[in-house]
Subunit: 196 residues, 2 copies
Amino acid sequence: MGKKKGQRKEHIYKVAQNLFRERGYAATSMRDLATAVGIEAASLYNHIRSKEEILQGICADIANQFFLALNPIKELDLTADQKLKRAIHAHIQVITNNLDASAVFLHEWRFLSEPFLSEFKTMRSNYEADYVQIIEKGIEEGVFKTIDPKFYCLTLFSSLNWIYEWYKPDGKFTVYEISKQLSHLLLNGIRKTEIV
Amino acid sequence: MGKKKGQRKEHIYKVAQNLFRERGYAATSMRDLATAVGIEAASLYNHIRSKEEILQGICADIANQFFLALNPIKELDLTADQKLKRAIHAHIQVITNNLDASAVFLHEWRFLSEPFLSEFKTMRSNYEADYVQIIEKGIEEGVFKTIDPKFYCLTLFSSLNWIYEWYKPDGKFTVYEISKQLSHLLLNGIRKTEIV
DNA sequence: CCTACCGATCGGTAGG
DNA sequence: CCTACCGATCGGTAGG
């Protein structure tokens, strides 16, 4: 019984992730969601408390996954560029394993109400700070150029967080190839002979 | 008289750009817009035909600006990396000169109805194709590594199109500095010694 | 540019 | 999980 109800809830979340991604959170009605699930709108409330609860669940889940992927890498005894490579790979894996949910996480978080909105922003700041730290260490070690760490970090994330837009699980690139090429590009650029 | 009405319309568009960016197109009501403008909701319709007409206007305007900025550069007799640098600078200028409108253009276009939606997608494809062409030429010329042009292009745009999120006109970086640093980063990476 | 109002749809609840 | 329904709000119109 409890198991069956959990499965249904799971299903509602999966469908919601897809609809919120495709149409946006605000433009997706509970009737849209119910129809896609195959039940009446009122019946949704036997499984979830509110529309926003679904959004909260999606955002918390993805946030958690990002930290679970990054935390072990932080402790490793590696040079900054190797550490950054691993972090990039971990981040890409979370996105490609959760295409719909990642898209919602990245674009629909602004519809969270307090205190979830503030929690989200704090969490995101912490995550970015971890990356900034790796980059700062790399500059100290002389592995990286003396670029502004925050600026580099924003550029890096923009590239990583765009992947859900074009990545296809059965496309021409594997996750490993994307990760390798993106790391290479952002670490070494595309120009053959560097002009200083 | 006609001039006064045009000014009001202009003002409605400016306010709409800001609201659509902050709250999203779907979550912004015509009453929100009217209140922010300082009139009643019904009065908006003396200046605009519909909510979507505003979105269409914003998207068309920004699309036009991107092409106006890029077209003259395409004809120039420059190496691919120099041409790409100029294109990047032009693209960044359009975004930083139209922060609200660019954000709407980049994220709210999916609420366009047909035929505007199809027109938008075609236009965007053409713009991307212009960049791909520059990159392909650079690979032929031996200026660029043999990276996948489409892949590089997507990464490039993701970095450029993220700028509106953090750029502040009175911030620590000028538009010229951002453009220079971003070109440098994406052309040369951040690693000091390239590992092949 | 306003008041007054339209039908449609919204998130959610009552009660079974 | 359903039928029936709530008050609120939506984009937009009529008429002045």
